[in-house]
């Protein structure tokens, strides 16, 4: 019942928004001059085109140059005093093909209303300024920034109310989420105002000169995102292949990458450094692909020879990372020896230590063929006990703080990706990342350490 009410409220809101814009457009058509056809078709068409070729970023946000056309239309139609011109261009924002194809009429109506009314408010702001603003460049720059603020505030308000109705979040919270997007409107506003000014001198001929480089940039950027996604998919495919060989470590690489990112965030890593850390963490065990399945899945102790085969994976992982320039600086992340904390090695990047700590934490809080998962408290205690010895102290502080801050729970009782065991692992066992003394040591046999 509640959801039906909510749906009705959304429909009502969208219809009211679109109707308000249409009534406004009709009033402007009766009271003022009609817009010239060529600029209306040119700028309106480009606005629709720009909306439909927006590039979606991995973060979920999207970039579109459509606002440039709105600002250009505000400037162009000012000379003919046609208030309807920019509003009509703005209302074309409803012609977004994915919405039309999916017959999402409420979204179409919301965009017609939101863009149309926001453009009206923006053009009103610009109309209030003296006409001479076009010839005074510093004033034109200042006014375009003001117009951008007006447009963004109005448009975000309309969108914010819509999303508040859809998600049942408070309008204030939705607006807070949308607010960071305002940075991209300022350069677009400047470009739009200057493009409009040039349009008045040269006419529509100027438009291709502006659109062509934007289109090329857009196409190249889309290729970049596609290639990046492809690389990610390839790495994940190989990790899946690895997990198919060793089901006991299902989800391990993903979790190590997440924990590594937690630590990166705590240490204020930039986006590029964070991406490098994430990929290195994701690929730190890639060399396990060369270890035969029966050794990876052996529940008991490993022979000397088997242990050597397992250790070979570190060499392979390091070799793979070393051959990729972007990841070469953090290649030791894949080596247990190199990432073991060395207090004297001041110049060593911290990434290998981060991956080592994340790896050990996940090993302790996951059930393996040789022992069941430990509790989070035991894992934390073990990390803290060995901070400054086996683990870099900063990484231990960062990881424990990040997990506590998020109120997350891992380990015994909170495991995901749980495997169906053929032979149930023991409660405790060798290789528990420093907890190997839980099992009696046999002479001349080396312990298997946590990967």
């Amino acid at each position: 019942m509640a959801s039906r009410d909510s749906s009705k409220a959304i429909t009502r809101y969208c219809v009211v928004s679109a109707s308000a814009a249409l009534v406004l457009a009709a009033a402007l058509a009766f009271r003022g001059p009609l817009p010239a056809l060529i600029p209306l078709v040119t700028l309106g068409g480009l606005f629709v085109f720009a909306e439909n070729i927006s590039v979606e970023l991995p973060s979920g946000a999207s970039i579109s140059a459509s606002f440039v056309m709105i600002m250009a239309s505000v400037v162009v139609f000012r000379t003919s005093d046609s208030r309807l011109g920019p509003v009509a261009v703005g209302m074309l924002g409803g012609l977004y093909l994915p919405h039309l194809r999916a017959l999402e009429w409420r979204k179409v109506a919301m965009n017609v209303g939101g863009f149309g009314l926001a453009t009206f408010v923006t053009s009103s702001f610009y109309w209030a300024l003296p006409r001479s603003v076009l010839n005074d460049i510093p004033l034109l720059v200042a006014s375009s920034i003001g117009a951008a603020v007006v447009f963004f505030a109005t448009n975000v308000f309309f969108v914010g109310v819509y999303y508040s109705l859809v998600t049942h979040h408070r309008v204030r919270d939705v607006l807070r989420d949308l607010a960071p997007g305002h940075f991209q409107v300022y350069p677009f506003a400047l470009l739009g105002v200057f493009l409009g000014r040039l349009y008045l001198t040269i006419g529509p001929t100027i438009v291709p000169l502006f659109v062509v480089p934007i289109l090329i940039a857009r196409q190249t950027f889309a290729s970049y995102l596609e290639l990046k996604a492809s690389q990610e998919a390839m790495v994940r495919t190989l990790i899946k292949a690895l997990e198919a060989k060793d089901p006991y470590t299902s989800g391990h690489a993903e979790r190590v990458a997440v924990y590594a990112q937690y630590m990166g965030e705590e240490m204020s890593f930039g986006p590029r450094r964070m991406e490098r850390l994430r990929l290195a963490a994701l690929m730190h065990d890639i060399g396990k692909l060369v270890v035969p399945n029966h050794i990876l899945n052996k529940p008991g102790r490993l022979t000397e020879e088997e242990f050597a085969r397992v250790r070979q994976h570190e060499h392979v992982s390091v070799e793979v990372l070393r051959r990729i320039d972007f990841l070469a600086p953090v290649a030791p992340s894949a080596s247990g020896d190199f990432s073991h904390y060395q207090p004297d090695a001041k110049k060593t990047p911290i990434e290998p230590y981060i991956v080592h700590t994340a790896d050990a934490y996940d090993a302790m809080t996951s059930t393996r063929s040789y022992r069941k998962a430990l509790t989070q408290d035991v894992a934390f205690e073990e990390l803290r006990k060995n901070a400054g010895k086996q683990f870099h102290p900063e990484t231990v502080t960062a990881l424990t703080h990040a997990i506590e801050k998020r109120d997350e729970h891992h380990g015994a009782g909170y495991e995901r990706d749980v495997h169906d065991w053929v032979v149930a692992p023991p409660e405790a066992g060798v290789g528990s990342a420093g907890l190997g003394d839980f099992a009696p040591e046999e002479p001349k046999q080396r312990k298997r350490t946590a990967p």
Partner: protein
């Protein structure tokens, strides 16, 4: 003082000089010329680097602005001064021969732009100023790129002219024209001074940023594939260097058989990763040769097909065990998979040892007729002969 500080200091000096010039005599465009010279020097370092193509400096766009801001003498002085400064400020690792060559090339391209621009504006004086300006600027931009292209052709002795995939050049031409028109407008109307080129450089910078991102990602992607290609070798599944040798061979054979650029790219990926699936199999050695070939190809193809970008390479690998007659692959995929199979089988026999290569070719020729495509065997032979690996003609 390091290079970065030298550049910042020079930029600071140029800005101060521009301010002084403006205060002393604001009727002359000296300040603008100094700043445009600075713009040329800075944008020399901002290059569009499309994949597999020569770099294009964005300074060409600033040169177009300078064409509209300066007299002939001023133009020559500013361009020469800016390029001289740039020559000294290039990366310390750049040899002086290269610095001087680039300097000469840039001066030549700027002069070509000047001659073309002035000629068109003089010849078409009195016509519609909009079209004259657009035509002259467009032709001047193309003239600069033509000089670069001629220089590259002479240097690399590669006289093929590719007109496709010229997006970077198009972005530079259109943005440069927009920046130049933004500076002075048309017939004294619509000009925005330095604000114009500054703002209208944004689309060009967006294109530059996209090309940089794409280039870096492609580099990492290619390196990732090459790094993963050695995993089976590091695991002792195949001979050391197998993937690298097979890839080099299939590239030459593809060239011999006139495959398209896209087909060559996919074949390269397939060659690098055709054994990757072997590491997911437990003990494939116990299988017979044919079954082993099927299992490995199937496992490798499965991994490649899981990634959309590599799926065509997966199809090539999947078709490798099929004989050249009677397989169900499309003709193009069948040809690519034959190239890969023959190159891989050849390398298994020769193992990179030149003394074994003639015998390896003979062994392949003596295989069953349905197994190997004679066209591809001939291509292999031609490639090996060109490399000097086969000294005498094959005894048939």
């Amino acid at each position: 003082m390091n290079r970065r500080n030298v550049i910042l200091t020079l930029a600071g000096v140029a800005v101060v000089a521009a301010i002084i010039a403006e205060i002393v005599d604001s009727s002359r465009p000296t300040a603008v010329l100094i700043l445009l010279g600075l713009g040329i020097a800075i944008t020399e370092g901002i290059e569009l680097r499309p994949s597999g193509r020569a770099r294009i400096p964005t300074s060409h766009a600033v040169v177009l602005v300078l064409l509209r801001a300066a007299t002939i003498t001023e133009f020559i002085v500013v361009v020469t001064a800016a390029q001289l400064v740039t020559m000294f400020l290039r990366q310390p690792s750049t040899p002086w021969v290269v610095r001087v060559r680039v300097f000469v090339q840039r001066i030549a391209s700027a002069m070509a732009a000047l001659v073309v621009y002035r000629t068109i504006t003089d010849v078409l004086a009195g016509r519609d100023p909009r079209w004259v300006a657009l035509l002259a600027l467009g032709a001047a931009a193309i003239a600069q790129l033509a000089v670069d292209e001629i220089s590259r052709t002479i240097r690399q002795r590669d006289f093929r002219l590719a007109l496709r995939e010229r997006g970077a050049e198009l972005a530079l031409i259109t943005s440069g024209m927009l920046m130049a028109i933004g500076y002075r407008g048309i017939d004294g109307k619509g000009g925005m001074g330095l604000w114009g080129p500054l703002l209208f450089s944004v689309p060009l910078l967006a294109a530059w940023y996209s090309f940089e991102q794409l280039r870096n990602t492609r580099l990492t992607y290619d390196q990732t594939i090459r790094a993963l290609s050695v995993v089976p070798e590091l695991g002792g599944c195949v001979n050391d260097g197998h993937a690298e040798r097979v890839t080099a061979l299939v590239m030459d054979m593809a060239d011999e058989l006139d495959l398209t650029r896209y087909e060559v790219e996919q074949l390269e990926m397939a060659a690098l990763l055709h054994h990757i699936g072997q590491v997911t199999l437990d003990d494939p050695e116990h299988l017979g040769r044919d079954l082993q070939l099927h299992e490995i190809a199937s496992a490798s193809a499965g991994l490649l097909r899981a990634t959309e970008y590599l799926a065509p390479a997966g199809d090539i690998v999947a078709a490798v065990p099929q004989p050249h007659r009677g397989g169900d692959a499309t003709p193009k995929t069948a040809l690519a998979s034959q190239i890969l199979r023959i190159a891989s089988d050849f390398d298994d026999l020769a193992r990179g040892d030149r003394r074994r290569m003639a015998n390896a070719v003979e062994t392949l020729y003596s295989g069953p007729g349905y197994l190997y495509d004679p066209r591809v065997l001939a291509a292999l032979e031609a490639v090996l002969r060109r490399r000097g690996a086969l000294l005498r003609a094959r005894v048939s």
